[in-house]
Chain length 381, copies 2
């Protein structure tokens, strides 16, 4: 166990800079306990999402009296929780989603991992969990990825999904700052392709986000109330809900949402909701905004609220050319229809049509797998 | 393990009747494993909230393939969770709060326990957790209370707080209906008195509730985002936040909120927000509304949105006579000041003044402890 040390860090978490003296765990104190290596046995083509855990997990404990303990990599195993834990009662948890990619060159890469680290720190702070140095967490995750490298599917078969999570480990009931917390990182191999057409349904009876919500943070509280809604929509054949606020589209399920509008013949605009606190600041979302000009310098990218009535009018004029969602799991997925107030608005993509979103997706995948060298790609090994 | 049986039940959960065929666990299948009895050792006068667990806990498991397992009462012990559990990642949990009271007559009583059972069922369903018969859960809880009866403080020292909780026990990542879930019930002795003056602060940067929120359900997701806010307010000397929506007061912390207005000399009105989906339908709240006419038949009780500007105007006219909060833990607590946008609005209660809310509180406590016989009081033993 190392004593916590104080360092000054300057980081940008959820678009707000803060400077403060924080205590953090450090990668140099990492304690690794591996279990005997077993050759991973999975069929990349048949992988679902989150069904197979790799052999190990990261564990980093904090308690208010002693600060951070040494980070550990230990065999994957159940964890013990006190029945009074405020995770179980009040949902005090947050998470991240990222991926490790095995390139054709054999290298292992992460995609903009510091963005996930900074967002994770922001989510932790939103729950009054302790501060840490996000660069140290990234170093620990890199060590973890190296240990689990045999679990990373080949280039054409998928990637290794990496799940940092933090939660309360209290033993006292009551809605208070958690005196003991835990960060864990786990991983599971996931397949390459998201199959099935995406058909969305606008859900107006529940606000997942608003400018006065916690939707900009990746905390469990944003997800729990959506399970029932997703389940009900799935029974009716929809892939996900589209969340709205003030009659404007926010996100879809747990993904960001984009519309491609043809304002005049050949003049395209990509519209997505701004970062006003009502949506998650997605890493893929940000990458789409930053990278699309490389591919389509003439396309205008606009972050603004986009309303249901504007959509209906533009759809009636045949000006809505594409709808797509973005997230770490699926990267980009084109949407085939949008149901609003009982009416289905189809997207009439033509067979073989080269969609703008497909071109962006290929570019992102090429960067992720190292086909195209890019500063967004972070080589681990 | 019993096979799930199908029964038709008609219950009222969150004010909506539903009729459906449900499978439930049954109290008659209860398996009790007690540990050797140790005389509880606690000082009622020094009890905090939720620090001491009793000897046992209720455990009821459900999985999608086999349905409900037999309910159990087992020794209080840590529980094992799969690291992929959607409780830890997405905050899939809900809870209840109730109390067992030891009367001067030696009897053990619960207060309107079916209200908690129905609300708990409603919270479970809101998370897509499985249905159960709430009358069966109450029977199990009654058995639990009997086993833990030595843990119930004496009449003048406090009560036994009872905490039902339900959460996901999945082993697959992903935001989906939980295929395995758990209901637990635990208990802790709590002191009789809430000490310290309550000073509230109106918090306008986060909407805990709105008509399109999940605030009417006692799910963890409503509580996790409030911890940081409560912590920050406490540093500034406030007891709790007052949540607002559309410039109207909703609740305070995790308690319902009431205002006593003197509309004309001697003509009083009690105002509290209506059950429009933005607040928790509190059992004490409902009891205050139902019982106050017994004590003050001339006082008008109004469930309506009450705005910040109305409050300020009435406070300036010296017409706001009392502010009070209500909840299971504190029953009723009078509020000494309300801070709004940097200005503190004090409540100038006079020493020895007999407050309306104190009279209501005494009536409620007398019913809870069996001093006054009432249908709201449910004798266990």
């Amino acid at each position: 166990m190392n004593k916590p040390r104080i360092r000054i860090i300057m980081i940008k978490a959820n678009a707000r800079y803060f400077s403060t003296s924080v205590s953090s765990f450090f990668n140099k104190d990492l304690i690794v306990t591996t279990k005997p290596s077993v050759k991973p046995n999975f069929d990349g083509a048949k992988l679902g999402f989150g069904t197979i855990a790799t052999d190990h997990m990261v564990n980093i404990d904090h308690d208010g009296n002693h600060g951070w303990k040494s980070p550990e990599i230990i065999p994957f195993a159940p964890i013990q929780m006190h029945p009074f834990s405020s995770t179980l009662h009040y949902g005090l948890c947050c998470f991240e989603g990222m991926k490790a990619f095995r390139g054709k060159d054999g290298s292992i890469r992460l995609f903009r991992p510091m963005e996930n680290m900074k967002r994770f720190l922001g989510s932790n702070l939103r729950l009054a969990f302790p501060e840490f140095d996000p660069t140290e967490l990234l170093k620990v995750i890199e060590e973890f990825v190296k240990i689990e490298r045999n679990w990373i599917p080949n280039h054409d078969a998928g990637s290794l999904y990496i799940r940092p999570v933090a939660f309360s480990m209290t033993d006292v009931l009551g809605v208070h700052r958690a005196p003991t917390t835990k960060i864990m990182v786990m991983a599971c191999p996931v397949g390459a392709y998201f199959d099935g057409k995406i058909n969305l349904s606008v859900y107006e009876n529940y606000w997942r986000g608003s400018p006065k919500s916690a939707a900009a943070y990746k905390i469990g509280a944003n997800y729990a109330p959506t399970v029932l809604i997703g389940d009900e929509l799935a029974k009716n054949g929809y892939s996900q809900a589209v969340w709205v606020y003030n009659d404007c589209f926010l996100e879809s399920g747990a993904t960001n949402l984009f519309f491609v509008i043809e304002n005049a013949p050949g003049k395209y605009e990509i519209i997505t909701h701004p970062l006003d606190g009502s949506i998650l600041p997605g890493v893929i979302r940000d990458s789409i905004i930053n990278l699309t000009p490389d591919l389509f310098p003439e396309i205008k990218i606009t972050q603004k609220p986009f309303s249901i009535s504007e959509f209906i009018e533009l759809h009636n004029q045949n000006k809505v050319k594409e709808i797509f969602v973005s997230g770490t799991a699926s990267v980009i997925g084109e949407v085939h229809s949008l149901e609003i107030r009982g009416k289905v608005y189809p997207m009439n993509y033509q067979p073989g049509e080269k969609l703008i979103c497909s071109t962006i997706k290929k570019y992102l995948l090429d960067i992720q797998f190292g086909v195209i060298p890019h500063s967004y790609s972070h080589v681990v090994q």
